[in-house]
Symmetry: C2
Subunit: 280 residues, 2 copies
């Protein structure tokens, strides 16, 4: 791997570039983004230079698509035209089925979808961190397991390990079902909770009485619609399923509370929350 | 204020003692807890000495009840017997109506309920921190506003300010309605989410794919039943109301998502989450 093209030099793309450097990557890193972003990225040493899309993709062995889902979906079909023959194309989009379908149609390059489970409140290249992926799952979503066995793919997986992330393989449809629960459901709960409290007639008193628990619970609600629109558009059925499952559980919990007590709910909830932490 | 008795030297009681010292309190701080806890508390300089309940309360100008709600409720009615005449009794229980009713019956001492909106995952005196209350609301719940005007009460409010907390006054019933939304609802959502995911057939994959958002969203689910049993027992009607409000909002959000989009939900949710942070 000599040249990496980062298409979309934001928090994720920028952090991936910094992480590669930290892990010892000696090749060239080129970036495709707005002028303002690439100026900042060059100044910060995140990328070596800015190039237009075509030139960047023609030069790269690894094309890393880190923009919003809709821009990944528009970029992929154009890559056969101008990407370097045999390059590996990957992406960091938060839903995978539609992207994997687009990737499967590419002929001159190999496509392998991915999804690093990392992020934070602040966005953009100024928020990029070389350790953003450290200790975090990095989901890889080949259409077929053999796709991981090419030299390009196994080289990429090696870099994922070197940057400290934990590669895990799942099929695109399975990925979308899982993240509907692990990521999209928590987002919608935080957004809904924040909305419920904001619309409450005593919203000002609720705000004035907020402790650290409420601050944690509303952190995801800070996420922007410009990111979530694409996620919600491309994963509706699994998310509706996760919502239904949760709403049913909340109703059952409400009934148990009205008629008795919630000890078993607290024990089960704590058990999963601990399992989540012990495994990290 | 010369002598403070901390009854229940755990995270909150221990942190209050440390905070008083940090803020310049020169008097004596005595602690009432199990032998093991008070040994640890003396060793760490959290309290000056351990005393039995009666002796501690007979010596103190300020009696700070920081145990679980049920133990606060059993202690209060006994205080007229052995507390020093004219002492101020306060508590740090998470619900206030039942406690305020018990406090209103005291004759030889003044009662003023309180609720510091601070806490963290770890518990016990070993987790106590002198800055735990800094920048956090400290809710005060007099039965009548005049109760704040006694010398003892206004002295106590001064100490709350000196430890960096933000005193806010509300009636006990109002307090319980507000925290049902700001604290008890987020707790039950985190417990329910953690339960939903833990019971999911793909629970292991969900765990393996967890990012930082899910870790935040399940933090409250780590809380112990031994604390929450008392809270849920003493605030059922306001909590059921908060649950109903939230479940209705989730169902409406689900319908909007199935039939259209959620832009307004994201904007409203973000607005409250930001308001919460800007005001701190």
């Amino acid at each position: 791997m000599d040249t990496v093209a980062i298409v979309g030099v934001g928090l994720i793309g920028g952090s991936f570039a910094l992480a590669l450097r930290m892990a010892g990557f000696k090749g060239r890193i080129v970036g495709v983004s707005s002028q303002r972003t690439t100026d900042e990225a060059v100044k910060r040493g995140v990328i070596d230079e800015a190039l237009p899309m075509e030139a960047a993709c023609a030069a790269a062995d690894l094309i890393y698509l880190a923009g919003p889902i809709h821009s990944i979906l528009t970029t992929i079909p154009r890559l056969d035209e101008f990407a370097r023959e045999g390059a590996l194309v990957t992406d960091a989009g938060s839903t995978k089925q539609k992207i994997a379908m687009a990737g499967a149609r590419l002929r001159r390059v190999q496509f392998l979808g991915g999804h690093p489970m990392a992020g934070k409140e602040s966005r953009g290249v100024t928020a990029a961190e070389e350790r953003l992926f450290e200790g975090r799952p990095y989901l890889l979503t080949p259409n077929a397991a053999e796709e991981l066995e090419t030299a390009a793919a196994s080289g990429f997986v090696e870099w994922i390990k070197r940057i400290g992330a934990l590669p895990r393989v799942m099929a695109p449809a399975e990925h979308d079902r899982i993240v509907a629960h692990s990521s999209h459901l928590p987002q919608l709960l935080s957004t809904a909770l924040s909305g419920t409290l904001g619309r409450h007639p005593d919203s000002e008193l609720i705000r004035a009485a907020a402790g650290p628990g409420l601050v944690d619970s509303t952190r995801l609600a800070l996420s922007g619609w410009e990111i979530w629109r694409d996620i919600l558009d491309t994963n509706q059925a699994p998310i509706l399923d996760a919502l239904d499952r949760f709403i049913n559980d909340m109703q059952a919990l409400r009934t148990r509370y009205a008629n008795g007590e919630l000890e078993a709910d607290f024990i089960q909830g704590k058990e999963f929350a601990q399992r989540l932490r012990n495994s990290r």
